[in-house]
C-alpha cells in the first residue's frame, strides 16, 4: 500500500471537459498503463483516487492534484513516466510525492488558489485599471449574486470581499490585461474566479471581453504560510 499525490496540468486542449470527465480520463489512463491502483470493496469497485479542487469548464490549470492509492509500492518517477505516455493532449504530470500514511486528501487541505485572469477591455489604460481595482477592493462589501447548485440554482447574494486575498494587474498587451488573484478556495470558503470577474464588471461597468482564466497554483495553509500541495506533505 502506498499513497501518492501527483501534480498535473489541465491545458487548453482539455479545458472543456468537466470534473467527472477528467476523473474518467484518469481512471482509463491508469488502466491503460497497468498502474497497480487500489480498488474499493463492494459491488461496483472503483479506483481509490481523488482530486484537489474542481475546475470550472473552460478554465485552464497549471496546478491540478490527484491522490492515488496504490495496492503495491511503485517508483513515483516511473508512475509519472507511464501516465504521461498515456494521456490525451493537454494533460501532463509535472511532479509527484509519496504521502505519509495518514495524510489528509488534497481536497481536504486546500485553502487558497492563485489565478491568472486575462481580460480584454477597450478604451482604458493600465493606470485606470489599477485605480479601478484599488477602488473595487476598497469597498466595505463586494456583494454579488451567486447560483446555488444544490438549491436548484437559486440566486443568493453573497459578500465575496473576505475571500479576495490579493488582486493585481501584473501585465498588459494592447487591450489585454492580466490580473493575478489569490482567492480563498476549498471547503471552508470558496470563490470562483468567474464570479470575481462578474463582480468587477458590475462595479466598473467595463465591457469586458475575452476572459481567459488559468489556475496557477493551489495552496494549503500551514502555520500561517501558504504551501503548494506537494510541499505541504514534505517534512
Amino acid at each position: 500500500m502506498m499513497n501518492v499525490r501527483l501534480k498535473f496540468t489541465k491545458g487548453n486542449e482539455v479545458k472543456y471537459i468537466s470534473h467527472l470527465d477528467l476523473m474518467r480520463t484518469f481512471q482509463r489512463a491508469i488502466r491503460r498503463t497497468d498502474i497497480p491502483v487500489a480498488y474499493s470493496a463492494g459491488f461496483n469497485p472503483h479506483q481509490e483516487i481523488s482530486f484537489g479542487a474542481p475546475l470550472s469548464l473552460g478554465v485552464v490549470s497549471n496546478a491540478e492534484y490527484i491522490d492515488i492509492k496504490l495496492a503495491e509500492d511503485m517508483d513515483i518517477k516511473e508512475l509519472q513516466r507511464r501516465l504521461n505516455g498515456s494521456m490525451p493532449a493537454g494533460i501532463s504530470i509535472t511532479g509527484g510525492a509519496v504521502l505519509p500514511e495518514h495524510a489528509k486528501s488534497a481536497m481536504a487541505i486546500v485553502t487558497h488558489a492563485r489565478y491568472n485572469i486575462r481580460l480584454i477591455v477597450e478604451g482604458i489604460d493600465k493606470q485606470r485599471l489599477d485605480k479601478a481595482i484599488e477602488d473595487f477592493l476598497k469597498q466595505e462589501q463586494i456583494n454579488v449574486m451567486k447560483e446555488q447548485p444544490k438549491k436548484e440554482f437559486k440566486l443568493k447574494e453573497i459578500d465575496i470581499k473576505p475571500m479576495i486575498i490579493t488582486m493585481d494587474n501584473i501585465d498588459s498587451k494592447g487591450d489585454e490585461y492580466f490580473l493575478e488573484c489569490l482567492l480563498q478556495s476549498g471547503s471552508k470558503a470558496n470563490l470562483k474566479p468567474e464570479l470575481l470577474v462578474v463582480a468587477f464588471k458590475d462595479y466598473t461597468g467595463y465591457n469586458i471581453k475575452g476572459v481567459r482564466i488559468v489556475r496557477e497554483e493551489l495552496y494549503a495553509e500551514k502555520d500561517g504560510k501558504l504551501l503548494d500541495l506537494l510541499e505541504y506533505e514534505k517534512r
Partner: protein, 618 residues
Amino acid sequence: MKYGSTKEFIYEELLSRVEKPGRYIGTEWNSIHKDPESAGIRFAFCFPDVYEVGMSHLGMKILYHLLNDQEDIFCERIFAPWPDMEEEMRKNGIRLFGLESRDYIDKFDFVGFTLQYEMSYTNIVNMLDLAGIPIRSSERNDGHPFVVAGGPCAYNPEPLHGIVDFFMLGEGEELLPEVMEQYRKWKKAKGSREEFLEAVSGIRGVYVPSFYDVEYNEDNTLKSFKPNRDGIPQKVRKRVIKNLKNAYFPDKIIVPFIDIVHDRIMLEIFRGCTRGCRFCQAGMIYRPVREREVDELIEIATRLIESSGYEEISLSSLSTSDFSKLNELVEKLVSKYESKKIGLSFPSLRIDSFSLKMIQEVQKIRKSGLTFAPEAGTQRLRDVINKGVDEQDLMNSVGAAFETGYSNLKLYFMIGLPTETMEDIQGIADLTFKVVNRYFEVPKEKRGKGLNVTASASSFVPKPFTPFQWEPQDNIETLIEKQRYLQKAIKKKQITFNWHEPYISFMEAVFARGDRRSCDVLIKAWELGCKFDGWDQYFKFDTWMKAFAETGIDPEFYALRRRELDELLPWDHIDVGVTKKYLRSEYKKAQKGELTRDCRVACTGCGINLLEEGGVCK
C-alpha cells in the same frame, strides 16, 4: 476579439458558449489526426444524431479505423451539432467541420452517412445544408463531395434517393475499401462525376439511385422500377463478410471524454440471428449467423482493454445467449480480467436460455441490470410473432434472477402487433404482475430489497424485409387507447410503465416503408424547421403534417395500408438474401399462429444460403 483562424474562433469562442462543449473537441484518446495536406482522400464520416448517440455505435468505430488504416485516407467524425451549437454556427457563418481537423467538409472527397434510424433523416438534410453542400444530388457538381450512405436503414434507400449519390448495402469492411480503390483510379484519370458513379455501380452492394427510373400506378402503388441505362444491375445484392475469422477489427477505439450512451468496449461476438422473430428487421437483414472464435475474441478484447482503458466489456450481438461458446468465452474473460475489475455486460439475453450460473459468474465483478423481452402479453400473440418463448421460460428466468438478489428488472413489450386484441394488452399487465408476484415468492432473506419492475411498451413499426412488411400499423388513436388501457391496468407501486411517443412511431412507419416521393416530404419538413425528430422535445408532428399537405402526399398510404402480397414494393430491387417467397410464407404462418423453428436446428430455407457461392450458413 480577433482570432488567428476560424479554427481558433470555433474552439475559443463557439465552444465556450455551448452546452457540453466536449462533444466538439475532437482530440479524444485514440482519435486519428493526420496531415490534411498529404491525405489523398478525405472522408467525412457523419452520424446524423448527437455525439453521445453516434459515439456509441460500433459500426462507426470499425469503419473509422478501417479507413484511417489506409495511409492516404483521412477519415474524420462529424455528428449532428446540438441545436444550440447549430445556432452559434449559423449566426457566425461557421460551416460543418470535421472534428479532428476542424476543416469544413464541403471540400472533402466523401461525405458518408450511417443510417441507423429513420427519424434522423432530417438531420442529414440539415447537416448537408450546414456544410454548404447542395441537398439534392442533382444539384451537386465537380467541386462537391460524393454523398454516400450505408447502415440498416439503407436497405430501403428510397426516401433518401434524391439526396444520397450512392448507397452501400450490407457490411462495409470489404465494400468500402473497394469503393476507395475505384475512387483513386477515377481521380487519377480525372473522370467526370457521372463516370465515377458508373464505375462504382459495378461494385456489388452499390446502389446508384439516379440510374433507375420509377413508374407508379393510378392507386399510387409502384408500377415498375428499372435501370435507365445499360450495364446496371436489376437487383442490388447486399455484401456480407463470408467468415468472421480474421475479419477486420480495430486494435483501438476512441475513448470519449464525455459520458456517452454506451461507454464501454463493444465486443462483437457474432453477426446475424437465427431466431426469426417476425417483427424484427435486424433478424432478417443481418443474416447469416457468423460467430467469431473464442480465442480471437479474447485477443481482440485484450488489445482493446490495453489501448482504451475501459472498465467494461459488452458482449454484443443480436442475441448474446445464442452464442454457441458463451460459457467458455465468459469463463475465460472473467478469469483473465477479474483481478483488474473489468466487468462484463450482456445487452440482449433471451428468456429461455438465460443462464443463472453465468450471471453469477459475471456478478463477481460488477452488478448490472437485467432486461427481458417477452415482446407480447399472451402466448397466442408470441406465437404469431414467432418469439418462441413461453410464460414458464420467463418465470424461470426472473425467479432465478430474484433468487440471486436482483430486484431491478426491465421487461420489453410491443403494442400494435398484427392480430393484437385488447386481451393481448391485458396480457402485458397480467404478465408484469406475475413477475412482481414471483419476487414475493422468494424468501425475504434471499431476495434483494426494493423491487422495481420497468415495463416498456413500444409501438410496433412494420419494417421492410420482415414477414410483416405487408401489414398496416395501428393508427395513432388506437395506439394511444392501448397505452391508456395499459397505464391504468398496470398501476402498482413496484412497476414503472414507459411507452413511446405514438406520433413518432407513426412517422417511423412512414419512412421505414417510404418510396421516392417521401423524399420530397423529408426536404419540405426540414425547410419548415424539422430536425432531431427522434427527440421528443424537438419532434414537431404538426409541422410534419403540414409538409405532407404541401407536397400532396398521404402519410397513411405508407403507414396504415395493408399491401397486397403481389405488390411491387419500393425496396424490391434490393436483395438482402432472405427471399420474398420466404417472407410471404412466414407471413402466412404468422396469421395462423404457426411457429418456425430456430434455423440453427435445421435450415428453414430463408434463402440467405444462396447469397454467396458455396453458401454462408454452416
